[in-house]
Amino acid sequence: MCMQIELLFFGSLTDITTVSRLIAEGMSDTEQLKKYLEEKYPALRTAKYFMALNQQMIQQVHPLQPGDVVAFMPPFSGG
């Protein structure tokens, strides 16, 4: 059974990732996921965003379960 999680990138973050949706495997928690993504996309290190796990904003490290959805949301300023 694969430990798959779904990643969603919003707004200008897709400039960095080039896609709005990704599947990741083998991530035990949100910190490991963040490190993996920062390795893969170094520009994420300086990007402004918050993370949400299953549509709830998170402020600390959370363990990940198969089927979890992690969203990366930057601030928007246009009007």
Partner: protein, 363 residues
Amino acid sequence: MLLNNRYIRQMILPGFGQAAQEKLRAAKVLIVGMGGLGCPALPYLAGAGVGTIGIMDGDTVSLSNLHRQVLFTEADIGSNKATVAAARLQLQDAEVNAAAYPYLLTNQNALDIIGQYDLVVDGTDNFAAKYLINDACVLLKKPFIYGAVSRFQGQVSVFNIPVAEGRPLNYRDLFPVSPRPGEIQRCEETGVIGVLPGIIGTMQAAEAVKLITGLGDLLYGRLMNYDVLQACSYEIRFSHQPEIPVIDQDSFLQMKYDFDCEEEADIPEINVAEFNRLVQQPDIFVLDVRERHEYPPIDFSDAQIPMSELQELLETLPEKEICVICHQGIRSVYAAQLIRARRNLPVYSLKGGLTAYFNQPGK
């Protein structure tokens, strides 16, 4: 009777009636920014019967505005947006009390102007204005209906609704400090599809009508993201951020909100390894800005000045390079900006704060 006839189609709605209509007539709404978001919000608020509407914008109409700022015509090019919009509002409903503020919101005029209204609809197009509105609304305890767009996506939320206990959620619970120039691209650089702010601005107007009348569930504690290309929305619930800067009237009046200015200090954020090297140097001053009740106590700081007291004690800091630390490295950036604004010596912030520090092996 004429009044009833005008609003009859909404007054016959379940739960609406005369009472909701009177609340709208008594309501005072300020729209800050008459651009892509403000233009669609205004006629719907007026149409719904909001009795007093303030319109604020220091900008003039230009040709490149017309694809999304649908209140304006070619004849309006070169005229102030607030003035034109207020005149249009009087044509729509001569009974509405319309006030035009043909200048920009600043921290010097915000408390006076926002203080005259019940709530603020955000029609601005830059972070400085959004943080300024947020902080003024926090100080004045006024609801803030937030909207913003980026290319094909928009965000909507409602902040600062009075709560029975504790403090209400505000914009800084989502994004505690404003992005620096270059961290996030602006609308004129990224582009925006015209209909998108139309959708987001009318969503904001809908939230304002719900807030005034007490109908339905507000987008409070929820950030809605709408993607016009996918035609789908994604909602994120959020709660209190423990690390947000404390706003009081003095810090608000002294804060430099215009992050677009080049002289805004860019605070270097150092990681734990860099921090460990830095503290070996003799002339570095480590400043802990956590509140006094926060744990754990540490023995490697030179002083602890809680964020809530820092503004008043800036003068007491030594003429040395300073590294600011806090629990998670968010408040410390804000503190470092306050310090940097007063002096020309290097100021650093420990990225990830003490959480990162105590996560290193051997700690």
